[in-house]
Amino acid sequence: MISAGERAYITQCVEGGLRGDGRGCLDHRVTRLDVGTIPQANGSARVQLGGTDVMVGVKVEIGAPLAFRPDSGRVEFNVDFSPCGSPDFEGKEGEVLGADLANALARSVVVGPDGKAGGLDLATLSILPGNSCWVIFVDALILNNDGSLLDAVTMAMRGALAEIRIPHVEITKGDSAEVPEFEIDNEKSSKLDAGAVPIIVTVAKIGRRYLVDLTSEEELCSDFSLHIAVNAEGRVCGVTKKGSTPVHASVMQEMLELAQRIGPKVIESLDAYIVDVLGE
């Protein structure tokens, strides 16, 4: 909740190019990233973006491919809100919010209708077409919300995916010819190529100015925001709009271009840090 006075103050500040914590309109907060926080997961990361605190764990398991895409792997998203974070996250409310975010992620980040758009080449995750494939489960836990959740989740996801190694699989014919058997060789694993996975840059408009990395108060001030998934080359991979206010096409165009400029820089800084931490 926000009062009319706070809204007026934020709007005036932003018009003057200043934000409540002294940032400029296009500045990010300091990002804290830890990779490998959950030992049980195949890949994990925690991101703190100001007050926003997000944890992502990635599991890789063998499962069945989708019927209409038998020669590809799958990626499943799940977002949970910790009820400790805010009373708003308790019970059904948190589940609904989580499903919203998971949908936005699934739409924007990985899978296009043909299974090739987005960042991951799902064909490489296939083991035996029509029978089995690798399934990547991306589970995000929101520990605290201070705005720009999707941005933080995708940053953490990038860290977690960088850690993932896909084990080598040897297919042997089992006793019966119908059911194949797998030998999983964890020694001979290959790195998952997640370099092309986009991150989401949330761009909002307050007054006449565009803002990135909003705090929760600023989110309440803006009529609408766009979650724009951008990859390292600055290509737009998906857009989700939040808020019911209609957007003029030219405004949307400007927001997209802004995200295209900022996204690659964010990915560059993140990757430099991740490579530094993982020592590769």
Binding site: M1, A4, Y9, G22, G24, E217, S269
Partner: protein, 298 residues
């Protein structure tokens, strides 16, 4: 501007603060006794003791702390005040809170306490300012006074036995807060003082340090043109970041420290956005160490 990425361990401000203060040889003001969960608390067997909050008696009859905090002895009563906790209201505290709902003849106010606080219709000044019976009409017009989402400053009138808090705004000092920003710090950092609302004249900023850890910073005045208004908003952001810096370092927050931090940021020509950075925080610790040494001399 490119994104600044660092490890979560970089942000260990508490160690920074501790190291800075110890290196300067500054005392920790009266050196209170800290206890950790499970620490045995020494008691005088001849005198006996009264078990207060934050303590428990183990099966062997020894008194132990059940929270990490500062040990306080008041005659026979032994209390451990936790270092970090939700706000525990005391009568007379000035607080800043947000109206969350209107129920019956009262507003529910979120003070970040364990329970919602209540502001009764009888405890506010109504337009006209006359003390009179509250009518059904007043009850219908409650949203005209405070709406859901509004931030207000108020005083704690009473804390009831079950922990619920009653507020009042029966003074011109309290009431609706207009244009400005609210920020949150750990409530125990706010030092209880004679005055909690301050007008920082030359900065053109008003500051309310709520005992519940909510701090209100707002530009005041106006009518001098857009440049002056922008300067005041900039100053408000500077004051807000000074409070944030103190909060991050777990240093006491009152007018003296806030103005001190604002002072060194202006002196050093530190931009408002740089006030959360390591370099500036180190400078703040240095300043605080100096302040404590001065107090030791006195």
């Amino acid at each position: 501007m490119a994104l600044l990425v660092e490890s979560t361990e970089t942000a260990d401000w508490l160690s920074l603060c501790h190291a800075g203060l110890s290196a300067a040889g500054a005392s920790h003001l009266g050196a209170p006794t800290f206890v950790c969960v499970g620490d045995a608390i020494e008691i005088d067997p001849a005198q006996g003791f009264l078990r207060g909050h934050g303590t428990h008696v183990d099966p062997n009859g020894a008194l132990r702390a059940s929270v990490c905090g500062v040990l306080q002895r008041i005659n026979k009563l032994v209390v451990v005040r936790p270092l970090k906790s939700r706000y525990i209201a005391e009568t007379g505290d000035v607080v800043v809170g947000r109206v969350t709902s209107i129920a019956g003849r009262r507003w529910k106010v979120d003070l970040h306490t364990r329970q919602r606080a209540e502001l009764s219709l009888a405890a506010v000044i109504l337009p006209g300012g006359i003390q009179r019976r509250r009518t059904a009409e007043d009850e219908l017009n409650m949203r005209g006074v405070f709406k859901e989402g509004d931030l207000i400053s108020a005083e704690v009138q009473a804390v009831r036995g079950d922990g619920s808090v009653n507020l009042h705004t029966r003074s011109a000092r309290y009431g609706l807060l207009g244009e400005g920003q609210a920020l949150r710090v750990v409530p125990n950092l706010i030092r209880r003082q004679r005055a909690h609302s301050h007008e920082l004249g030359e900065l053109g900023v008003s500051l309310i340090l709520g005992c519940n850890g909510m701090v209100w910073v707002a530009p005041v005045g106006g009518g001098e043109g857009e440049d002056e208004a922008a300067r005041r908003r900039g100053n408000a952001c500077r004051v807000a970041n000074a409070v944030r810096a103190l909060g991050r370092l777990c240093l006491p927050i009152f007018l003296g420290t806030v103005m001190g931090v604002v002072g060194i940021s202006v002196e050093g020509g530190v931009a408002v956005r740089e006030m959360g950075g390591q370099a500036f925080l180190e400078r703040v610790v240095e300043w605080e160490a100096g302040r404590r040494k001065e107090m030791d001399v006195d």
